[in-house]
Symmetry: C2
Subunit: 262 residues, 2 copies
């Protein structure tokens, strides 16, 4: 099987145009099949504020009503996605910007209303990823660049977590490729002390994760990412790395951030 | 050569959600290779106003400064494009939404500053269209849906006229396909009296066009579209039609609007 890199880039890097450009330079230089998934960044909140769309939070989580869905569709699938694609094309990476509706690449389901109605938020299912469509794009020499917007197949767009999109793509495509999943953000890796960038944990084995989690060694914000990552490893993804966007060029030399091992 | 339909849908239909849905239903039903190009609509001006971005006009034409480019990228390539794609997917049309940067499909040049600086506006060149990329997407079974945003290949997005994009795509792809170019808008066709929807001119031959133009029979707003259309016919496009979006299902029966003949 040929190799495929699924790279996730987080919102903080998206917001910093210099850091983003440096990252895209390194992403372009990666050889072989690759996919980029980008998070949202703060631009959506800024646009929402400018447009007078209220930002609704319930128990610390954002609610996506119709107006907010329009804003995130504009910003994530429009502005950010197309700026990233234009920069990648400039660097001779044949990028093609997609949301989940494009080529029916990712179909999610609207999160059921339980205690809280999160609005137009999409949850991924095991068969959400259209392997055939994405494989065709890769085989044509394109580099898919996904924003975190999906659809339900009935005409409704849905706001969806970018980390989950990245891990779901990695898992689904591992039937056809040897997949490495790489989470890039603005820290050097998984840190044992969130305030010390030198405290990178080199490797975390699945068997060690529960203890690290229980002892609260790992910062809360990392926990969902790590759950996603170990889940991906258990479902066929070959490698998972978490590290600083600035260091992406080191990942193929295995000198990048934290390596997770099944 | 196999047939290819290049369909342009205008801004007035984009703004009318019922008319748009009815049109997308008919577009989905068209058999064979097809491409949709959509105009902007008034949503961009509304978003610009909401965001406090001034709409600048010089000699009746819109100037696209950096802020306005961001707005049209958000609205055309983001909101409108993805809503159209999601609706088409719902109707089992395997749409893939693109701007010109995606797959390097359309590379334009920033309009040179002469008396007026139009800002980030892109003009099409004879080799602007990447036939190889678009042919690969069509051969994979996808239906490309283009917003009217292109790029310059150096990382800069550009606002570009949707009619010109449609005719340029039609011309370029006529090396590989038998191309029909269909302009859909909110009139029954080219009218000899702009206030009378029953005054549709059935066919216009290239040889008749100058006289109709000189005698001011044809409404000013139609003139650039007709120049585009006759130019496309002279450069290899097989058929050009101009008619009402509502009647798209009649076009393959040659009962649609005005037919232009080389």
């Amino acid at each position: 099987m040929s190799a495929l890199h699924v790279i996730k880039i987080g919102g903080n890097i998206i917001d910093d145009s210099k850091a983003l450009t440096a990252f895209l330079e390194k992403f372009s230089a990666l050889e072989g099949n690759k996919i980029l998934v980008h998070g949202g960044g703060k631009i959506a909140s800024r646009v929402a504020t400018d447009m007078g769309v209220p930002v609704q939070m319930v128990e610390g989580r954002r609610v996506t009503d119709e107006q907010m869905l329009n804003v995130v569709t504009m910003v994530y699938a429009g502005l950010t996605n197309k700026q990233v694609v234009a920069e990648l094309q400039h660097r001779h990476c044949n990028a093609i910007g997609l949301c989940g509706a494009d080529a029916n690449a990712i179909q999610a389901v609207k999160r059921p209303v339980d205690k809280i109605d999160y609005g137009f938020v999409g949850d991924m299912l095991p068969d959400s990823v259209n392997v055939l469509s994405i494989t065709r794009l890769l085989a044509s020499g394109f580099t898919p660049v996904f924003s975190a917007i999906t659809h339900d197949g009935k005409g409704q767009l849905l706001n969806t977590n970018a980390d989950t999109i990245a891990s779901s793509l990695a898992v689904a495509l591992s039937v056809s490729y040897q997949v490495s999943l790489v989470y890039c953000f603005d820290k050097n890796g998984v840190l044992s002390d969130v305030n010390d960038e030198d405290s990178v944990i080199d490797t975390i084995r699945s068997s060690e994760f529960s203890a690290l989690h229980a002892n609260r060694v790992i910062h809360d914000g990392m926990i969902p990412k790590l759950f996603n990552a170990f889940d991906a490893l258990s479902k066929g993804v070959s490698d998972v790395y978490i590290g600083h966007a600035r260091d992406l060029h080191l990942y193929q030399q295995q000198k990048f951030g934290t390596r997770l091992i099944a």
